[in-house]
């Protein structure tokens, strides 16, 4: 009988002790904010283009964190971003949502400066303040700061903004992945193309 009482008392004391430690730790080591949102935001390309339907990358990150939106709504990030998000959140990799847009080559806005009428509409539309100009004066895009988000094209009343692909220079060029064919690949290739001898 004694041993049962002893067991109950000692277990109760231990439960109280550990409960106290846990409670203190929960208070003392409390993490401020929602770090998962920051982690998701860090994976997004920060073009702030709004193609996902949110007014910027952070709001989309918040929506993903609340599981309100799927991870495949970001065309500028493309497959790489979807993969990274799937890794982070431990969910299935989805293909890019066609409604949000298509995964395209990175582009940059250029203003045809002699056609610009200086209406400042594109300046107001730019999410990263990458357009320089003033009312009734010519505007221009700060190329290094443009994210290629497309948002300035639509408000332009004279259609003088072009989205041009970023040119490859000898500074930005890098080697492509080598095409490697091993014996089985060659067989496969022949099957697809068809053997000319046949």
């Amino acid at each position: 009988m004694d041993i049962i009482i002893f067991a109950i008392v000692s277990l109760t004391l231990m439960a109280l002790l550990f409960g106290g430690i846990l409670g203190y730790a929960a208070k003392r080591l409390k993490v401020e904010g929602d770090p998962i949102v920051d982690q998701i935001n860090a994976l997004l390309p920060q073009t702030q283009c709004g193609q996902c339907g949110h007014p910027g990358c952070r709001p989309y990150a918040e929506a993903i964190a609340q599981q309100a939106d799927p991870i495949n709504l970001c065309p500028p990030g493309g497959e790489t971003t979807i993969k990274a998000l799937a890794d982070l959140l431990d969910v299935e990799v989805l293909s890019l949502d066609a409604e949000a847009g298509v995964d395209s080559v990175p582009k940059i806005a250029y203003i045809r400066e002699d056609e610009c009428i200086g209406c400042t509409k594109c300046i107001q539309a730019c999410p990263v303040d990458a357009i320089l100009g003033a009312a009734k004066l010519m505007h221009t895009v700060i190329v290094n700061e443009c994210t290629g988000c497309d948002l300035c094209v639509e408000p332009c009343p004279v259609d003088c903004i072009d989205m041009l692909p970023i040119p490859i220079t000898s500074q930005t060029w890098h080697w492509q992945k080598p095409q490697q064919l091993i014996a089985t690949d060659r067989q496969l290739e022949q099957e697809i193309v068809g053997d000319p001898s046949l």
Partner: protein, 659 residues
């Protein structure tokens, strides 16, 4: 002889050095066209100083260095500038770059400013200036501007002059050492002078006995220059491997040799420093090895910077001038996408393999994890692991495997039994890592700018709201103040109540009769008026209702009964008010007709008097007329007085009656 250290890994490929006759220097006729790129170095491209159509002379500065890490570009012969435009250059991408094109005039006239100098008479600053102005860059291949390298702030204790030339086939440095040994020593002495407190180690591989002999002879008597011979092993000429081999120290990751107090320079660079300081000649030519089984006249050629590769191949009788050509050595060089490209300050070799050698290249096979590459790697990396990771685009992981420490020497690919192009995979992965780093930087910048903008917009909205609130508060305060001052003046309701109270009291106050008389009369007048108005309103209402009732009756409307009672009520009310008015009038004995008559009489008399006063006679009028006028005026005034008296009497009597 000092103890040598070793470096891990390395390979021993066939040398093929005799093919290009080291030690024999040849010249080619001056080409008609020279294509001089503006960027032949690491750093910012130079800025052109000439225009199309300008006459330039050999050694003339045609493009100026921009920024700290950049190099001047000079005309390499005399002639006319025929174009400043983008041309394909010797780059693996085959991309274009800005070049200055010269049509040579064949005179090869030196620019008059090129003057020789005695370095003994130059101070350190002048020597530095000469090296800087000459546009010398590292001629071993990296192309780092030498003036910037020699201007290092960190103290340097050892200058390593690199004459190793470990790549097979290439003998350009060997030739430079054999022919220009004294110039190299003099150039090295200049560099030592600039670095101070430093000794020189001139390192040569043991497969160049003539060069070693020449350098030993030239350096005799110079205590601060030691010639060190190292065993032949590829890639002992790599900067990090050379340092490890000679000093036993490893350059830490992310650091440069200067952090260890060591500086590396190529032997050809030392010769260029000699040319710049002693002869005043800028960097306009270099020695290039043209070799390979595909070329008949293999050898070392002194070529002007900007000579095109296809011209050299043609002059050296290459089998197929437009065939595949490798620029640089067989281990680290790359195939030129286009042979019509200029040779630059860093080009040391043109390798033309035979058609047979190219066709022998067999395709890659699967990696069998043999580990040969790991043994060969001089950087102690895990090449097969890097290969798998690069192949599967696992860039995060490949960075953890220190891909960025790979020097792309090609030793792993050389030993690979499966002939996998390993270095190409590493170059691809490195490019992707750099691209990702750039993207991450851009994303961070965009994020900051986006957040700054959001904050700014939010601040604007808050400030606007704040201003609106202050304005609203100010308006409310003004209104409250106004209301407060108004209450003291007059509340119409209270005033009316006060008047009523006064009216009720007045009959009892006989003593205050005189004082209240005026007040009373006003009240009475108001009451009289009110009664009149009330009677008129009641009358009109009754008439209207009656008319509506008649109309409704005519139209057989349902609610006529209701209307009838209403009309009846209104009729009664109208009669009541009319009666009240009549009673009031009889009570105050007002005879409205008499009063009106008296007023009219008074007004007529008044008008007569005013008329006569207006037409008062002046001095020119005859006396009789004056008299007549005076009489008339007197009559009129009498009439007015009478009328006034009568009116006053009527008014007074009515007032007395009321009170």
């Amino acid at each position: 002889m000092k103890t040598l250290f070793d470096f891990p890994g390395g390979v021993h490929p066939p040398q093929h050095k005799q093919q290009s006759n080291p030690g024999k220097l040849m010249d080619l006729p001056l080409p008609q066209r020279l294509l001089i790129p503006l960027s032949q170095h690491i750093g910012a491209p130079a800025k052109p100083l000439v225009k199309v159509g300008d006459q330039v002379y050999k050694g003339q500065l045609i493009a100026l260095a921009t920024g700290a890490i950049s190099a001047n570009v000079h005309a390499t012969s005399s002639g006319l500038v025929s174009a400043i435009a983008s041309f394909p250059v010797a780059h693996a991408s085959g991309l274009d770059a800005m070049c200055i094109e010269l049509e040579t005039d064949g005179q090869d006239t030196w620019h008059p400013d090129i003057t020789t100098a005695n370095p003994g008479q130059l101070d350190e600053q002048e020597i530095r200036q000469r090296v800087l102005a000459a546009g010398i860059v590292g001629m071993g291949g990296a192309g780092f501007p030498s003036a910037a390298k020699l201007a290092t702030d960190t103290p340097i204790h050892t200058l390593l002059v690199n004459g190793v030339e470990c790549e097979p086939y290439i003998t350009a440095d060997d030739t430079v050492m054999q022919i220009y040994s004294h110039e190299i020593i003099l150039g090295t002495k200049l560099a030592l002078g600039l670095l101070k407190q430093s000794t020189c180690k001139l390192v040569i591989e043991d497969n160049k006995p003539q060069a070693i002999a020449a350098m030993l002879q030239a350096s005799a008597g110079h205590d601060d220059i030691e010639v060190i011979v190292i065993p032949t092993k590829y890639p002992s000429g790599g900067e990090k491997q050379l340092i490890q081999n000679v000093t036993g120290q490893q350059v830490p990751r992310g650091k440069i040799p200067a952090n260890l107090g060591i500086l590396c320079q190529n032997v050809a660079t030392m010769k260029a420093i000699y040319d710049a300081v002693y002869l005043g000649q800028p960097s306009i030519e270099r020695i290039i090895t043209v070799t390979g089984d595909g070329v008949k006249q293999a050898g070392n050629y002194r070529l002007r910077i900007g000579t095109c590769a296809d011209y050299v191949l043609q002059q050296c009788q290459a089998e197929q001038p437009n065939s595949q050509v490798i620029i640089g050595g067989p281990m680290m060089g790359f195939q030129l996408p286009n042979t019509h490209v200029p040779l630059i300050k860093t080009s040391n070799c043109l390798l033309v393999p035979s058609a047979k050698a190219l066709s022998d290249a067999s395709p890659a096979m699967a990696c069998i994890r043999c580990g040969q590459c790991e043994i060969a790697c001089p950087a102690q990396l895990l090449p097969q692991q890097l290969y798998w990771l690069a192949k599967s685009d696992a860039f995060d992981k490949i960075e953890q495997y220190n891909l960025m420490d790979c020097i792309e020497c090609g030793a792993c690919a050389y030993v690979c039994p499966s002939q996998i192009p390993l270095v190409q995979h590493y170059r691809y992965a490195k490019g992707m890592l750099r691209q990702k780093a750039t993207e991450a930087r851009q994303a961070e910048l965009s994020k900051q700018r986006f957040e700054a903008r959001e904050q700014r917009l939010l601040d604007e909205v808050t400030a606007k709201e704040e201003r609106r609130k202050t304005r609203a508060a100010a308006a409310a305060a003004a209104q409250a103040a106004k209301r407060a001052s108004n209450t003291e003046q007059a509340d119409p309701v209270k005033a009316a109540q006060a008047r009523l109270a006064a009216k009720q009291k007045t009959p009892a106050h006989d003593t205050a009769h005189q004082a209240t008389l005026a007040n009373n009369s006003a009240t009475n007048e108001v009451s009289h008026k009110d009664l009149k108005t009330a009677a008129a309103i009641a009358r009109t209402k009754f008439k209207k209702a009656n008319k509506a009732y008649e109309d409704a009756k005519a139209a057989d409307h349902e609610d006529t009964d209701k209307l009838q009672t209403m009309v009846h009520d209104l009729q009664q009310r109208s009669e009541q008010t009319a009666q009240a008015l009549a009673e009031f009038e009889s009570q105050v004995q007002v005879d409205p007709e008499a009063e009106k008559q008296a007023q009219i009489t008074w007004a007529k008399a008044n008008a007569q008097v005013r008329k006569l006063n207006k037409s008062a006679p002046d001095s020119s009028t005859p006396d009789d007329e004056k008299a007549a006028h005076k009489e008339a005026l007197q009559v009129a005034q009498k009439n007015l007085e009478q009328a006034q008296a009568k009116l006053d009497h009527i008014k007074n009597s009515s007032k007395e009656a009321q009170s």
